[in-house]
């Protein structure tokens, strides 16, 4: 039986890569938590997708601050949950994503935190995202829009949380 809070898998890039994917995810947990610490070769907005779905079945609402302005953005019927802001190239960006009832029969809702500071630029965000699909999530994929590579040393870890 899985533990309450358990690491499922982790990836550390030994070379630049355009995607990070966790597949064959067990349905034994209640929630998933994805933790990403990394950078892009030339920035790029992160994009989160489930079960390899590249269709416009995602949406999100974001609140953000960039050191000058507080703002809120929406993405409707897009091809992934995304930030609208490039991840870092020098200092790493920290993203966490909680995916609720990922193996259940409702559409999949996620809460994300995004922390990116480049010592002169950057943004902090909190996001609620939706994948309009009632299927259980069996894979989680992360890429940068435009095919930009994640840099060597970028890490991503997937955790499972199990309720009583």
């Amino acid at each position: 039986m899985p533990a309450t809070y358990e690491k499922i898998a982790t990836t550390t890039l030994g070379s630049a890569s355009a995607t990070i994917t966790f597949s064959s995810i067990s349905s034994a947990y209640t929630d998933l938590v994805l933790v990403f610490v990394g950078s892009g070769a030339s920035g790029g907005q992160y994009r989160l997708r489930f079960n390899g779905d590249t269709a416009t079945n995602y949406s999100s609402t974001i609140i953000s601050g960039d050191g000058t302005t507080a703002g809120s953005t929406r993405y409707t019927s897009v091809d992934g949950i995304k930030s609208g802001y490039n991840i870092g190239t020098t200092n790493r960006t920290f993203i966490s994503c909680d995916i609720f009832s990922y193996a259940g029969s409702t559409n999949k809702t996620a809460l994300l935190t995004y922390s990116n500071d480049q010592n002169g630029s950057g943004e902090t965000q909190r996001t609620v995202g939706l994948w309009r699909n009632t299927a259980a999530i069996t894979s989680v994929g992360l890429d940068l829009i435009g095919g930009i590579n994640f840099t060597t040393g970028t890490t991503a870890t997937l955790y499972g949380i199990l309720k009583a």
């Binding site: 974001i62 929406r74 009832s101 029969s105 809460l111 609620v128 870890t157 309720k163 009583a164």
Partner: protein, 193 residues
Amino acid sequence: MWQAELLNTVLGSLSSGVAASTSSFESIASATGTGSSGTITFSSIPSTYAALQIRMNARTDVASTAATVLLYANGDTGANYIRHNLTGNGTTVTAGASAAPASSVFTILRATGSTAPANTTGTGILDIHDYASTTKNKVFRCITGTEDNTVGQIILYSGAWLSTSAINSISLYLSSGNFTTQSTFALYGIKGA
């Protein structure tokens, strides 16, 4: 806020030679909406943890796209709660707060309502540190939101229960309506060192 540092640890071993497995992040209880109640209560909460976390994924039959989920601790429905919030709706950012000096209405989470698309829920993560302290008022932190591809809200809440009593029960409730059977609530305890 992610809890990656709270991975399972193995402490010591039993006399039988089998290692005892203990976790810093433990599941205390869970609940599911019934469709006929607008209140979820976690009671008899042990005082042995350093912090509590509630994880919610919920839908209601409130006739709206979204519904506010309220909280009271230890059965206290008096004017002993204060809160602030920062809300983004995709267009504007607004800041809010409960009415001074304190309120009986403690808004802390957001769920979807009956006019949101079918099978769509609101979510939230609520953290309470030092919940068992008998010398401090209780402070809450929450990230919550609803998103249905038409409207959405992402909300950050901070709040306090103006009581030095240790929290032994938490009730999440709707001012009207019910949580549907698609709603799940889970209470976790986080141990200190």
